[in-house]
Structures are given as C-alpha cells and as structure tokens.
Subunit: 232 residues, 4 copies
Amino acid sequence: MSNYQDIKEQAYIANMQLPKLGLVLFTFGNVSAADRNKGVFAIKPSGVPYEDLSVEKMVIVDFDGNTVEGNLRSSSDTKTHAVLYKHWEDIGGIVHTHSTYGTAWAQSQRAIPIFGTTHADHLTVDIPCAPPMDDEMIKGNYEYETGFQIMNHFDGLGLSYKEVEMILVGNHAPFTWGKTAEKAVYNSAVLEAVAQMAILTEQINANAARLKDSLIKKHYERKHGEGAYYGQ
Amino acid sequence: MSNYQDIKEQAYIANMQLPKLGLVLFTFGNVSAADRNKGVFAIKPSGVPYEDLSVEKMVIVDFDGNTVEGNLRSSSDTKTHAVLYKHWEDIGGIVHTHSTYGTAWAQSQRAIPIFGTTHADHLTVDIPCAPPMDDEMIKGNYEYETGFQIMNHFDGLGLSYKEVEMILVGNHAPFTWGKTAEKAVYNSAVLEAVAQMAILTEQINANAARLKDSLIKKHYERKHGEGAYYGQ
Amino acid sequence: MSNYQDIKEQAYIANMQLPKLGLVLFTFGNVSAADRNKGVFAIKPSGVPYEDLSVEKMVIVDFDGNTVEGNLRSSSDTKTHAVLYKHWEDIGGIVHTHSTYGTAWAQSQRAIPIFGTTHADHLTVDIPCAPPMDDEMIKGNYEYETGFQIMNHFDGLGLSYKEVEMILVGNHAPFTWGKTAEKAVYNSAVLEAVAQMAILTEQINANAARLKDSLIKKHYERKHGEGAYYGQ
Amino acid sequence: MSNYQDIKEQAYIANMQLPKLGLVLFTFGNVSAADRNKGVFAIKPSGVPYEDLSVEKMVIVDFDGNTVEGNLRSSSDTKTHAVLYKHWEDIGGIVHTHSTYGTAWAQSQRAIPIFGTTHADHLTVDIPCAPPMDDEMIKGNYEYETGFQIMNHFDGLGLSYKEVEMILVGNHAPFTWGKTAEKAVYNSAVLEAVAQMAILTEQINANAARLKDSLIKKHYERKHGEGAYYGQ
C-alpha cells in the first residue's frame, strides 16, 4: 500500500468522472489531487486511456514537478499543476480538459461573459481567458510557464484564485481547480455548461447584456459566504 | 410512514426524471408536488445530488414557505414554489431547471417565438420571458419575489396559468408547472425541445415567420379543450 | 392472434426504433406499416408512451381512415397516413416525427439544399418543403388535407414518391415513407442527419454551393437503379 | 481459419469503434486494415449494419482492388482504399466516415483552420479539403479516382501523408489513415472533435486567428518526433 493511497484514490475517482461527464475524448484531460501535508500530488499518467486507469497507476509528484512515486510518466501537463499547487496554497485539486465549448471559447481568445444566474452561482466575473504566451515562454519550459501565465493573468485582473476557480488559456483550453479534486471536476463541468449557454445566448440575441450587479451578488451569495443558504 | 407519503413519492419520481431527460447538470433543478387538501408540497432538498435522493429526503413545506416535515433544508427556490402554489390554485406541481436551450433564451431576455406545431401543440403564444426584477426585489426576499415577478408578467400579458404552463425568468432560467408534478416535468422537456428548435429555425431563416393563427388554433385544440382527439 | 399480426409486429418494431434513433421526445412521432393485400395498415395508438407500447396495442385502420381492429384510438395523424397509402400505391410504411433538425427546417419553410454526397446517396433533389395549408383546409379535415398537401407539392415539383421518400410540411415537421416501415424509419434518420449537416454547412460557408449534377447522379446511382453496387 | 485472420480481426474491431465513437449512422462508414507482407487489406462488407458484422464477414482485397477472400461484396469505397495503400506505403489502416461536423466542413469546401492546441497536438496545418473531382473523373472510375484526388491534393500542398493523416473530400466527407486501423479510427474521432470546435470558434469570434507558429510547433513536438514526451 502506498504512503499516498488517499490522494491516489481521489485522483483516480476524479479522473474517471471526466469521461462520465462528457468532458474528454480519449486521453485529452487530466486531474490531480494534492496532499498539502506531504507536499505532493497524485496525477494521471500521460496518454493512458481512462478505461485502463487504476489507483495504482496514479503518479506522485512534488510541487517542483519531480516524480516521487510511480512507474509511469506523469501527465505532460504536470508542471502546470505543480506551479499552481506551489503558489496557490489553498488548492487541493486541479483539472485540465479540452472540453468542446470551453475550448472553443479559448480558441476564440474571449473571456466568457456572465450572462445569467447559472454563471453567477459560481463566480461573479467573466470566466477569464489568458492570452497565449510569448514565443520565448513557449520555446522554454512550456508547461511550467503555462502555470505562470495563468497566475499572471489573475494578478493582472485582480482576481483571487479562491473565488474564481477556472480560467481559459487562450488558443488552448480550460483549467479549473478547487479545495478538492472532486470540486475541481465539478468546476470543469460548470465551465462547459456555462460556455455552451453563453454561445447560444449571443446567437439568440447578438446584443445580450451582461447580468446586472444586483443579480450577480445575490446568486453568488446564495451559495458562498456567510449568509449562504444553498445546500445542506 | 409520513402523512405526506403520496406527494413525497410523486416529488421523488418527478425529480428523478430531470437527469433522465437531460434537463439538469448536478443539482441545478428541483421539482415539487402539492397536496391541495393538506395545503403543503413536497420538494427536493437543497444541493443533494440526484443519485443520493430518496423518497424520505423530500421536504414538506406549506404554502407560506414554512417547513412542516423533513430533516434537510429544502431547495433554495422553495419560496418561489410556495408563492405560486398559494396564488395559482389549480397547480399540482412545479419544476425549475437550468436546461441548456431554455436558459440561453432566458439569458437573451427574449420570449420564444411560436414557430411551429410542436410549440402550438402545447400553448398558443410565445413562451413568455419575464424581465429581471428591480434591484430592491433582488436584495429583498429574492425567491419570494421571483414568484410575484412570474405572476405579474402573466397578468401584464393577460395570460392564464392554466393555459400557459411555462415561463422564462429573464437572465435566469425556466419555470414550468401543471396539474401534477409529472405534467410539470413534461412541460420542462417540451420547453427545452421547443427552445432548441426555435434557435435553429432563426439560424436557418433569419426572417422565419411566426405560425399563423389557424394552425396555432388547430394544433392546440387537437390536444386541449372539448373537441380534443389526441391521446386515449 | 390477430389476422393482422404481421403488420402489427412490423409497426411495433418500427415505432420502437424512433426513440432508439433519437428521433422522438415523449409521443411526438408515429410509424405505420401497411398490408396491401388486406388494404389496411397498423399504426401507433395516440399519445401512448413508447415504453408502454406492445404489438397488441397497434391499431388496424383501412385506407379511408376507419379503424378495423384495436381498442385504442389510433394516432391523431392517422388520416394523413391513410391518404398517402390510398394514393401512393407502392408505399408500405410511413413515419412522422418532430425530429429536432428536420422540424427546424420545416419551421423555417425552406427546402433542405443538397450540399453533399450523404444527401445524394438517398435522393437527387433538395428535400422538399410543402407550404402550410390555407386556412380552409386547416379548419376542415386537417390531417386528411395534410396528405393532399404533401401529394400536391410533389405533383407541383414533378417529383415521384418512389424516388423521393421524404418531405417537410412547412411550420410542422417531417414525413417519410418507403417500401416498408423499416425503410421509412431509416429515411427519417437520414433526413435528420442531412438536416443537421445542412445547417452546419451554411454556418461554415454562407455561400456553400449545391452539389454538382455529376456527383448527384454518381452517388444516387451507386445505391439505386440497375447499375447499383452498394450493399449485398 | 483464414490466412488473413489477423487483419480481419483488426478491421472488425476498428469498424466496431465507429458507432461507439458516434462517427457513423447506419452503414455510413468503413475501416480497413492492411497486411503489407501479403499485399492485401481487410475491409468492411458493403451495406452491412455494424450490429451484424463479424470477423468472418470482413472481405480481403489486394492493392489493385481485387477481392481475394470473402463471400460478401466489399465496401463501395474499396478502390479508394486500394489506391491509397498502393501508393502510400507506410499506411496500415484507412477510415472513411460521414461524421457530422467533418462532413459539414467538406460540404462547405473549406479546410479546417488550425485554431488551437487540440488541432496542433495532431497536425501542424489546416485539415486539407480536396476540391470535388472534375466530371470526367466522376463519370469514370469514381472511387479509384477519389484516391488520386486525395493524393494529388496532398502533392499540390506539399504535404506528407506520414505527418498529416486526414483529409476532407469536398462535398463528400472525411478520410483518415494511420500506421494501424486503430490509429486511423483515432484520427477520425480527432478530426470530428476538431471540426466541431472550429465551427464554434468562428461563431464565437468571426475574426478568430489561426494558432501562432510557436504554439503549433510546441504542441506537435510534445507528441511527435524525437523529443516527444507525451504518453508512455
């Protein structure tokens, strides 16, 4: 039994949710789950089909991106996960997918406008879209720089990763995170649903207006903060 | 055995139809079923995933929104249900979803034009879209006011809730109702299908015309009223 | 055992294909299968959910629309089927659905342009769209007149029902037919697939050209006529 | 036991993937698997539904299109496969489908622009779209000429079939290939996903830019070439 059995199980279960939720084709996605006390995370091995995954195949990596346990090569996006875990200290899980609608918005290099309460139930701002990196970063330590690109975009917009748990990387695809891997997967599915509704909204009404502030505030506070009354 | 076993079972069965019909992601929807004699309704508990629901977990609430039976907190939309049951005395079931196409029309703040017989089989007017509430109502008793916003919009348009069993709440999402919870769920699925066909219709022909009155009347009367000859 | 057991079984099996192929929501569709020797057809009973259907519930109707056998009321569209069977003597099966994309084209009152070989494999012309009927026909014997509207549109375009086995009825939805009920169901699925591809084609290229004659002829003849070499 | 048991099994398994991946309706697609040593390939029989397929029903054909083994007529597209196997000597499998989004792009006669990393993970150029053939080729040996049309378009663009394993045939539909039948099927699913994302990208942003060269290179090289670090 591994010393990291808990997060390997969490990562396995969370990874297996991606195909169930229709968020991945073949191996185009990965989930990791962190153990903050041990300073490591469990992540999907690279290029292994979901139907061949098992708890044992999860790879344990530290926050500098070094493999600590596991016989398989970790996800090619491992360094992006490592950077985010290292700098955003309250994250317990990260998800990357190429889900259809989220990826289309990323390819369009547009943030997803906040058009309704489905969006506001989860975050109070447009879903941000980081610009593609400059060529030096791409040619360099690409996946590592992707993490910084995400963090820099959040800094530039003055956003908190604790309140906004998702981003599009321009021309690439979505990343989401959360207190747990399960929550990060939930956020990936929410992003995809909101992304689909947003394109339809603009198609139905090319002049559709963003949600007004009072509704944004109301819906977000129903689910978050001290006065929240959604859920048990 | 609860005194409200019947409506708890109805509400449970109807709630479980939502994921089967593809109308909800996670917990984004709720169904209630009323017992008019006892002056109460059974409703989904807040934030509980559909796969964890059971008859026993349904919450019994009176038409003023007070919980009468149940250990769980009722849906965050409970007061909207309560207001509608209190004022629209022939309703036996209510459904709220964030179904993809219906929500996109709501976000667009447009009523869904009556383009064909699929629509006219169920109602003779555009599916109405209530405007978002003013800021005072939102900051106040929000879910309670949502019920009034729905009723006021029907009054303004001169619509009868007995003939038109569905509405979009602007920037938010659909609500439907009916004699029973089962019928209300049926209406939610119809609304979603009609909403998808309507956006496609406009995309195929930007100048698509509304259905003419004779066809609206014919199709509605096939299914409703004295001369109806649809069904058994 | 019914005297019409064969066509009741054919109609049952063909009706059950509609939900499997994603062509119907609830009861929004019906299939019939004809016995030309006996001058009758078996058709779905009106408003009965597909999961409650059985061979025994199929209703036997003659080509004037009179029920010959069965305890249930036949489909509300029965008279349209009867008229088509009576006048188009080589038809053995008819299908009516409100499938999403086909219905959207019907609501748009546009014929579906022949954009590619998927279309040409099945017919050599645009999928015709009959205009809505005039008000007198609608107020009169509506379903009966729907049959004549379909036939008149074919006559006006000089089309043969043996070569073109599908039509859109404007503002309403598709009808398809064929030598057998099974073939008619096949045609309904083909129409829906071609309808979806056609709207996407126009969205990708607003000036997309119709398929050229040589390709239309080649693909149609691969599957039909004396030199056909598709299939076994 | 056939002398060609291996490729018959490969072709059978690969063909059965098409309906699972949502790439075919009815019989609108076919996969072949080649044995280079024996100079033959196994291909789906024409017009046989996927649920009726078996290993034994696969037809063995040589690279000139002559049937070597099998009681059934081979796919009507057999000669296209034969031509490609004969001239592109490193191909081990070929797939033809009429998948929805890929076919819509083909009908639009547009190459699919490279908008993001999902595309660049698999090829570094727009997915090419060969123009429809001239009338002489269509009236002549059509399926044979289709193979040459594909190869000529690659030659004209200076593309290598080893690097670009997919094409659209204008007004028709996609063809893909690869070292194995399994890889060719994988490519068909990738093409369909990329095709859907590309139309959405243009709908979200009519001025969406192609992916920049540095990102194209980076993502392609993650999965291909000497420095590849994706997968195991």
